[in-house]
């Protein structure tokens, strides 16, 4: 039985090799169909994986409230200083107004420069509370993180992220050393009390949360930041001075259960809405991302069914067309085989084997091209970023950060489908061959 199967397949392969170009062209449709299935599934899986990773990063039970710079012109204040975003009052309102709240972690974030001796480095200065560490799963490698006493005492202490530490102190232990940070023309000295471990950058989320490289972070107590720098920060860039007044950059609210996140986000919206008519804040629900990712995946799936369906149909018809030509061309051979004892079934099996070999070969090549999904996506992304930066910047971050993940099931399924297409579209030509009258077939020129 197995031996017969193998020899039938071998015969099919042999007769297809007689017309390599024709067979190759016939396979094309199936090949493209299978490649499309694998690619689109990989994209969908990539999106969904990305979302799951982000949720893990951000915490599924968190609601993230961020200050958003309003579009220019609508801001209050003098021409070059705009005031916007979350306030300390907002923080109190959230603490008191959200019943399911476990904790709320406020944070203020400013881009700036730090110096240690002769070394200077761009940093991301973060005013935080001790909870920030736990919430962001920061690992303290050296020294300690900020403490409640640091916050209460408005101490001039800081904790460096790994990258910032390397930039400022090379590979020396930064703990106990001092760094100098300058804002608004006034410089302050902070004592380094700890250093956190390396951390992989997070991807951006849906426009309201930019991707972040945590490694240039410098953490100081939130109270210290307010005391030393204040809410207003003026930066002078290429001659023009601009400034902003922001009390808090972000409040991360943690609730007890994932099911409560939705409701908490709703309450926060209501609490903040009337104090922020300009909408200079955004409420991000990480678990919401999953829904967005599922939407995107659904889109990929619709595309998948469309593209795969069409190309497999076209591929199937192509194969049928070739097989009909083959059957006509080989009428005489069919007659000979029938005269020598082939039953109608034998003839069906012979031609069906050829179609299956054809479509399965197409499917296999399609699978090989399917694996090309990962390098091709990578090349497309880096190529776009490099050569067409304007186009690149308009793409949604989900696409920019997309890493396709090839699903084993899609390989198996698409391969089986290609074989199925072979059977389906091969059946008619094979039956036609089998139904021929042996005498007429023998007489055929």
């Amino acid at each position: 039985m197995i031996a017969r199967l193998i020899s039938t397949i071998r015969l099919g392969f042999k007769s297809l090799m007689l017309h390599k170009l024709r067979s190759g062209l016939a396979m094309l449709g199936i090949m493209i169909g299978v490649t499309a299935v694998i690619w689109l599934v990989a994209m969908g899986e990539g999106v969904s994986y990305q979302a799951q990773q982000q949720i893990k990063d951000l915490g599924a039970t968190n609601v993230i409230v961020r200050s958003m710079k309003p579009s220019s012109g609508s801001a209050t204040g003098s021409s070059f200083i705009i005031e916007y975003g979350l306030t300390r009052d907002d923080y109190q309102r959230i603490l008191e107004g959200v019943p399911s709240i476990r904790r709320a972690v406020p944070m203020r974030e400013i881009k700036g420069d730090a110096r240690a001796g002769s070394r200077e480095s761009e940093i991301q200065l973060l005013g935080v509370t001790p909870d920030y560490r736990d919430m962001n799963h920061l690992i303290v490698e050296r020294g300690r993180f900020l403490s409640d006493r640091d916050v209460i005492g408005e101490e001039n202490v800081c904790v460096l992220a790994a990258g910032a530490a390397t930039n400022l102190f090379a590979h020396e232990n930064p703990v106990g050393r001092k760094i100098e940070i300058q804002f608004n023309g006034k410089s302050d000295v902070y004592k380094v009390v700890g250093q956190t471990a390396d951390r992989t950058p997070s991807a951006a989320i849906g426009g309201s949360l930019a991707g972040r490289d945590f490694n240039t972070d410098v953490y100081i107590p939130l109270t210290t930041l307010r005391l030393r720098i204040g809410d207003q920060v003026i930066t002078s860039r290429s001659g023009s001075r601009e400034g902003e007044i922001v009390q808090l950059s972000q409040i991360t609210v943690t609730v007890g259960e994932v099911e409560e996140v939705e409701e908490a986000a709703g309450i926060i919206e209501i609490l903040l809405e009337k104090y922020h008519p300009l909408g200079d804040y955004a409420v991000v629900v990480p678990s919401e991302l999953l829904r967005q990712a599922e939407m995107l995946r659904m889109m990929f799936n619709v595309l998948l069914i469309l593209i795969a369906g069409i190309s497999l149909l076209v591929g199937g018809i192509g194969i049928m067309n070739i097989m009909l030509a083959t059957v006509t061309e080989r009428t005489r051979e069919i007659g000979i085989r029938r005269a020598l004892g082939a039953t109608q079934e034998d003839v069906i099996i012979q031609f069906l084997a050829e179609t299956i070999v054809l479509s399965a070969a197409g499917g296999m090549i399609g699978v090989v091209f399917g694996f090309g999904c990962i390098p091709v996506t990578y090349l497309a992304q880096t190529g776009l970023e490099r050569w067409l930066p304007e186009v690149w910047s308009t793409l949604p971050t989900t696409i920019r950060d997309l890493q396709p993940r090839i699903a084993i099931w899609s390989i198996i399924a698409s391969f089986l489908i290609s074989v199925g297409v072979g059977v389906l579209f091969g059946l008619y030509p094979a039956r036609r061959a089998a139904m021929m009258d042996p005498i007429e077939a023998l007489r055929h020129e």
Binding site: A3, R4, S7, K14, S15, L18, R332, E333, G335, I336, R337, R338, A339, L340, G341, A342, T343, Q344, E345, D346, P438, I439, L442
Partner: protein, 232 residues
């Protein structure tokens, strides 16, 4: 004497629209084992039609056909296929080899369709090599039909016809496409096979070919008109 094949009152009608063509109009004959018959007659007299019925390629409209003890006239398509594979060896005017196969592969084709479809064993292979040697093609095993002369192709067909040790060998103008010298060589092989005990029924137009058979049957208008090279 045991009969290799016998038939009684065979009729074959073809329907072409409203017209009925009676290609065979009641033929009766019997062929004992070891017979060598030349079937003659003018064009359209029904020789090929009769041979196709004898070869189980078709079923008669009426009549009975017994081959090697089996009544073939009532078999299903699948059974007819088996009869062709096991009891009949065909030799055609235009050789009818499979173009993409080598000599050896062509000889082996009937093995693909043996009952139960067992795989080809080394014993089968040796038998094929023996047959190739019998027809003088041992040195051409890997050649394809287009690399062979007509006579050589017909020898491949003969080897293939002998493979399953058939009850009768049916040849429709086996020398029709060959020059007289090559035709004579083919006839020598057939004569030798007959002397070894094979039953052969052969259609031919050429009297000197027909003469080499043991007897001659003459057909006219779908009926047997008589025995002997010349009618009457």
């Amino acid at each position: 004497m045991r009969m290799a094949a016998e038939f009684e009152n065979l009729e074959k009608h073809y329907h072409l629209g409203d017209v009925v063509v009676k290609a065979l109009r009641g033929v009766t004959a019997a062929f004992p084992e070891g017979d060598f018959v030349a079937l003659m007659g003018s064009s359209g007299s029904g020789k090929s039609t009769l041979l196709n019925l004898l070869g189980a390629l078709d079923r008669p409209t009426h009549g009975r056909y017994i081959l090697g003890g089996y009544d073939v006239s009532t078999l299903s398509d699948r059974q007819l296929s088996q009869v062709r594979n096991q009891l009949i060896g065909f030799i055609f005017q235009s050789y009818n080899l499979i173009a993409q196969y080598t000599v050896l592969e062509n000889i082996q084709v009937p093995l693909q369709y043996r009952p139960g479809r067992p795989p080809i064993s080394s014993r089968d292979r040796n038998r094929c090599l023996d047959l190739a040697e019998q027809v003088g093609l041992s040195d051409r095993l890997d050649h394809r039909p287009y690399q062979l002369s007509g006579g050589q192709q017909q020898r491949v067909a003969i080897a293939r016809a002998l493979l399953n040790d058939p009850e009768i060998i049916l040849a429709d103008e086996p020398t029709g496409n060959l020059d007289s010298k090559t035709g004579a060589e083919i006839m020598q092989i057939l004569g030798k096979l007959n002397r070894e005990g094979r039953t052969i029924i052969m259609v031919t137009h050429e009297p000197d070919i027909a003469e080499q058979a043991k007897r001659q049957i003459y057909m006219r208008d779908g009926m047997i008109a008589g025995e002997g090279i010349f009618p009457g």
